[in-house]
Symmetry: C2
Subunit: 424 residues, 2 copies
């Protein structure tokens, strides 16, 4: 089969097909038909030349380009090309060699539609939005949390003290930084024990449930050992840097079924998601994380220190929170019916402060986790006041009270706003 | 600390520092000093705002920008920022959030220099070049191998037959495709048993040692189960798709110490390596693979269907094959002293045919594995003749005989050249 034989614009995808949407720019002098055919070929059964003794029955396993609209292309893959429950194998096909082919100048995987058979071979989130809300006994409002800062350098007692002040200041979650796992000055085991002791103290004093999020990012065996330690010490949640750890280990952690909330950090995603013409979209990463079983996932903020457009973040939030996702006419979202795969709690984090809360809630709704680093511990009076200011800003937002009005009677919020302002 | 406080052009890196070279393009209106300082800050101890009660001793853990030359920047990181033997943690720091920061327009991690302390916390290759040559009893010439084609669709007996024909045609290695793991029509266990049976038969008939490379890419537990099966059945090597599996599982496989050659496929790398201004270089990926312990790694071809410039491939080849790597004045290579970490056998694969052999050997030398897919099985007379043609082209190249001359007395090579030509 020639590359162009993989293009069949009359083909209608079968229910069992996996469908990908790509952005494609052919290399100079290469037609769109040839370039997209090359992508379909290389990601299914083909190669750069004809194979002499290939049995003709194999052609039925070829992927088909069934839609070309400007630079956007849809390709359908027969279900038989994929191993059930093996995410790395699936990605080696549909997100593998194709990014390096000479026939294309740029290629971006925008979205994946999973056939039901393949979908049900993955676990999905254990808890998702409802499960996490139940643990915390918070039925409706956004959750608020913090990342302990400075990122690294505190010892375990200092770290636990910052966590404690955050919790009694009114925050629901406290997480370790993605750079901190087990360092010389702050070893994992001691960190977890100290922090969970402080969590219990904070729970007793506030009468509220709290969550500590230790980062178990490591080689798989060590990662599992740490996750089991968290479980044993009474923890409810672990965090994993899903990109730097990789899909294989993430599946292993989920399959281990430790009944821990899995918090997905996305450090490193932007090396492949940021270029709008090449790589893979954050939507796809979020999609995969939902399928494997992340309960709460960083997706960007609309505002703050990380790049991430409003439309992109909104689309991702819909993709991983809804049961049915509608197809969009232009722009990178295929329809999806998520079956029994639970919705993921989206996390907004990265350079946000209390003055951002009304805007983020306006655009993303209440099923979000707002997570502050510098925007908490950078409060002029420190962590405890920072946490209070965040809580005050959230209460005001829930009651439709402008932050500046609320600040008149809440000195912590006033100081935060004086430092960082309110973002409309 | 402000972002610009992380720039100290008078700083000279300590021997224990980890050093990174980045390509940096600041966002519009942002100075180079601020942009590079932001990168150093976010990847070490800083955040977007000042932290009120941070102990001053922590500032010593900050990374330092010590060189800015055009868009190239070198940053030194104190050793204490990293956990020994935890590659995902290291990358969450130096290749994490920084790619998404608003202060930068483009950012590419070009190279990493590992301090000895950190280096020795990783295993490195078990075999490397010398070990693999010893197993095959081939002291000097390049190794030749093939990927069974069509990629997927053959059953295990058909697959093993293609492997057998390749071996008796004169090839040293036969590998599964990166898309094939365990599919409905070709299950892993049966594939391995059939292929190893054929390997033994080919070894008996040729009197040569041969290697089969089954792809164990999967969730970690399943991956290890498959690797142990290969070992039990008498295999010598397993392959892993290092990008789609991820660093955590790769470390686990290496640490398991099964005495199998680890063959690293790089499917998916180009989603982050291809853009020369953003992401991560293939050199860095190869560097990490060597450190963790891949014995043989795909690095590109100079020629063929995959993009990859000659200079880039040559640099990567030097980086992972040498004991001492010299610093280059311009362009992306830091000095490196590899200590006890063994050299990796580089694999050239992707769209190559017999007519490419002289050119690749000329530029990359004899310590390479040449691996053909379509360039073997696309031979007009099929696999056996394809393998013979490759062998003939290699023999001619080793004796400095032009391929066209050799083809006069070797009909298989002649047919290959008639189909694909000779590339100068």
């Amino acid at each position: 089969m020639k590359y162009t034989d993989y293009v069949d614009l009359n083909y209608r995808p079968a229910k069992s097909d996996l469908v990908c949407e790509f952005y494609v720019e052919p290399a100079k002098g290469v037609s769109m038909k040839k370039a997209t055919g090359a992508v379909a070929s290389e990601s299914s059964i083909g190669t750069w030349t004809t194979i002499t003794k290939a049995p003709p029955r194999i052609n039925k396993l070829g992927a088909r380009v069934f839609l070309i609209k400007g630079n956007y292309v849809k390709i359908a893959y027969p279900f038989e090309l994929f191993e059930l429950g093996n995410m790395p194998q699936i990605l080696s096909s549909i997100a593998g060699n194709i990014f390096g082919m000479k026939d294309i100048a740029n290629l971006r995987l925008e979205d994946i539609k999973w056939p039901y058979q393949l979908m049900k071979s993955f676990e999905g989130p254990k808890y998702g939005i409802k499960g996490i809300r139940k643990i915390l006994k918070i039925p409706k409002r956004p959750l608020i949390g913090t990342i302990v800062k400075p990122k690294v350098g505190l010892n375990s007692k200092e770290h636990a003290k910052v966590a404690y002040e955050s919790w009694i200041g009114g925050l629901d979650l406290v997480k370790m930084d993605e750079n901190l796992t087990s360092l010389k000055f702050n070893k994992f085991g001691k960190n977890v024990r100290e922090s969970l002791k402080m969590r219990r103290k904070a729970e007793k004093e506030t009468g509220e449930k709290k969550i500590y999020v230790p980062n178990v990012t490591a080689e798989t065996t060590e990662m599992l050992r740490r996750a089991r330690l968290v479980k044993k010490e009474g923890g409810r949640c672990v965090m994993i840097d899903i990109i730097t750890v990789g899909w294989s280990a993430l599946q292993t952690l989920r399959n281990e079924n430790l009944n821990l909330i899995l918090h997905g950090h996305r450090a490193g995603h932007a090396m492949m998601t940021r270029n709008p013409k090449h790589g893979i979209s954050m939507l796809v990463i979020a999609d995969i994380a939902r399928l494997i079983g992340i309960d709460q996932l960083h997706i960007g903020t609309i505002v703050g220190k990380m790049a991430g457009e409003r439309q992109e973040v909104t689309h991702i939030s819909e993709e991983i929170e809804k049961k049915f996702v509608k197809e969009r006419p232009v722009g990178h979202t295929l329809a999806e019916s998520w079956g029994n795969i639970k919705p993921v709690f989206v996390i907004c984090s990265g350079g946000i402060h209390p003055g951002h809360i009304p805007r983020i809630v306006k655009f993303l709704g209440k099923d979000i986790i707002l997570q502050f680093g510098g925007g908490c511990h950078g409060h002029p009076n420190g962590t405890f006041s920072g946490a209070k200011a965040i809580n005050q800003a959230l209460c005001a937002t829930m009651q439709n009270i402008p932050l500046k009005k609320c600040a008149k009677t809440h000195p912590e919020l006033k100081m935060a706003i004086d430092k960082w302002g309110v973002v409309k």
